[in-house]
Assembly symmetry: C2
Homo-oligomer: 395 residues x 2
């Protein structure tokens, strides 16, 4: 036993049984209805529901204005204006990327998100400035949260010459994956962007996570092309389509073809449960064999004023947009914010099982379904066996 070891007692499992958790050296050493204390620090869950740590599979830590005074949304109602507005605002922000990212990281850890994937803007003008800020935050909070970084070409790859070289530099500097964005809608060159990004990913041996907002037939063609390249390069499990709104607005036959292609090639879908836009039919994706995960997307940035990074609240939104009502469907919504995300991020030691890292939360809810619809404040957040937050506040 180490001095920091804990025994979580008096918790309730998702199955509804009393459960206790013995943590040794940051790892779950035992799970059971009644464990004998062996001198660990006893932590009383007070009957609350025990859940695995939350996973946010789509963030933009470099963009957030979290912690700054309220900033009214300034862009016009289109993507180009949002990109331009962001560039204009960036120069005058009172806090650098590392500080703003840190503000938000502290908030999400307090809400039990202990793993995340963040896109970080890179382009020839910005260079690696945002990346450096997020890398600094990643290092500062390494004991609290694991952060995966996508080198994200917000302004396009072909449309913004020189970006690919900066993406390569970002990987060399510590980014984990390559991003992409609407090869048709932003670059107007589907093959051009996909060839460039997949080619670089192959050379660097990294995964890919592509923003795809384009709807309808154009979006569908891009989904098919991404699946085709993923299959050709045998990158199953290393490629994700973020958003993929088109999956929610094509007809049933086309959807079935796309879902099968994604499943066969191993391309995941990451949704933020869009408000006014088509929601991908995630139960059907799952049934077809596609891994589905959820993320916050922009949190209080020049793109979106919404959110505080609560992935239980996001699971509620995912469920709400999907019309989920049954306990089984609500549990699936939770999965998108937990083990679905862990699968997309490739987390090896994730879960509530012996041998997994002791990353978990407790919430005052009777059942998992109730936790999803009410998204109560996390009563405990435990990271590698250490209590990092209580009742929504960092310790």
């Amino acid at each position: 036993m180490s001095p920091g070891d804990i025994l979580l007692v008096n918790a309730r499992s998702i199955a509804g049984a009393r459960v206790e958790v013995r943590v040794r050296d940051g790892v779950i050493a035992a799970l059971g209805p009644a464990l004998e204390p062996h001198g660990e620090t006893i932590v009383d869950a007070a009957g609350d529901l025990l859940l695995p740590a939350l996973v946010d599979s789509h963030m933009h830590l470099d963009k957030t204005l979290y912690g700054l005074p309220w900033q009214p949304h300034a862009a016009a109602a289109n993507r180009r204006s949002r990109i331009e507005t962001e560039k204009t605002q960036r120069a005058s922000l009172a806090q650098p990327v590392a500080v703003r990212a840190g503000n938000l990281i502290e908030r999400i850890v307090a809400q039990g998100t202990l793993h995340c994937r963040t896109h970080v803007d890179v382009d020839p003008v910005l260079g690696l400035e945002n990346l450096d800020g997020v890398l600094a935050a990643q290092e500062r909070y390494r004991d609290a949260i694991s952060i995966q970084i996508v080198a994200f070409p917000q302004s396009g790859v072909i449309a913004c010459p020189g970006t690919l070289a900066v993406m390569k530099a970002a990987i060399d500097a510590g980014a984990d994956l390559l991003g992409g964005i609407d090869p048709v809608g932003i670059d107007g060159d589907m093959a051009g962007q996909l060839d460039a990004v997949f080619g670089l990913a192959e050379r660097c041996g990294v995964g890919i996570d592509i923003h795809l907002h384009d709807g309808g037939a154009a979006g569908a063609a891009q989904v098919a092309a991404i699946a085709e390249r993923t299959k050709a390069l045998a990158m199953a499990g290393k490629v994700a389509i973020s958003h993929g709104f088109c999956l929610g607005d094509v007809d049933d036959g086309e959807f079935a073809r796309l879902a099968d292609a994604m499943a066969e090639s191993g391309v995941a879908n990451i949704t933020h449960a869009p408000g006014p836009t088509a929601m991908p039919p995630i139960r059907k994706l799952d049934a077809a064999g596609v891994t589905v995960a959820a993320g916050s997307d922009g949190i209080r940035d020049s793109w979106s004023p919404y959110g505080a990074g609560d992935m239980l609240a996001r699971a509620m939104l995912v469920a709400w947009r999907s019309g989920f009502r049954t306990d089984s469907d609500l549990a699936f919504a939770f999965d998108t914010a937990s083990k679905g995300g862990a699968a997309v991020l490739g987390l090896a030691d994730y879960g509530l099982a012996v041998g997994c890292r002791a990353d978990f939360v407790t919430v005052p809810a009777q059942t998992l379904a109730e936790a999803v619809v009410t998204f109560p404040v996390r009563s405990l957040v435990v990271r590698a066996g250490r209590i990092v937050a209580r009742d929504g506040a960092l310790i």
Copy 2:
């Protein structure tokens, strides 16, 4: 001055200025940046944002299972099954209507909802049983919340013979308005249901609030027919269409015709920001002159597992589904949960102005837009000048 009078100090107005509120005999007697204490009890808002009381324009207090152990959703994915499942479950519930309604009322008051409109099922089998329960709760909580009751023919009017007589009996027993439900989709007889309900409303001198889920052309025809009858009977301001999903799925030309007809006849729209269904374009309705309000709809009942009756969180959902991002749009979303609701409910003394009843809340937010996107716990809830809740808990 009366012994219960208060002076709220150190609050922030929606306009961003420091504001204080003098309450005399439950009424706002003065509002200003710095008021002289005249012996009132001083209540410190600690710099929090002052908002008018929240209004929930669409509830089902009789259906809620709030306060009971978690009940997994048992119905199949269609309206008929939900109606039948509800009838089956009703017999075995451990708490009567008055108690369950009271559980939820206490929760919503703690969240600052001080006015609501609830539909209450009536039919020949149920009689006035649910109504009696809600009337008992209405009386019990009369000092905390004003409750408007709609006699609601959940199983149809024509499809469920005898219901109209029970609706009439409900009005005689204390219900305030008549309801309706999908004259085409449930009754298969548009003119039949509308003639019956409008005719009874005219005889009783009460308003109407009709559930309309039917989409597309069928829904549009019903909106037009409701507007026509409202105009013919000069019932402007006394008729509302709840849901009206069809308003979100007809083409622009048809929408414009319906919106104009609703505005001209004085028919309001009440939305709960549906998840998977089309969202009425509420900014366009407002621009056309239609009053728009928001409501929770079912809260943890045999129809829906969602919600806890937080109308700030509902304003967020309304905004999210509408794609709102600007402060102005977010403020409009708040209006649907406050003054829009007050307009639909016909509340005469509602608002943050001298002479209005002192019904208000404070929240820890810098601006109204931030309050909508974060829906923080209400730090204070004041009803007729009396503090009824603090930090989310009833006093």
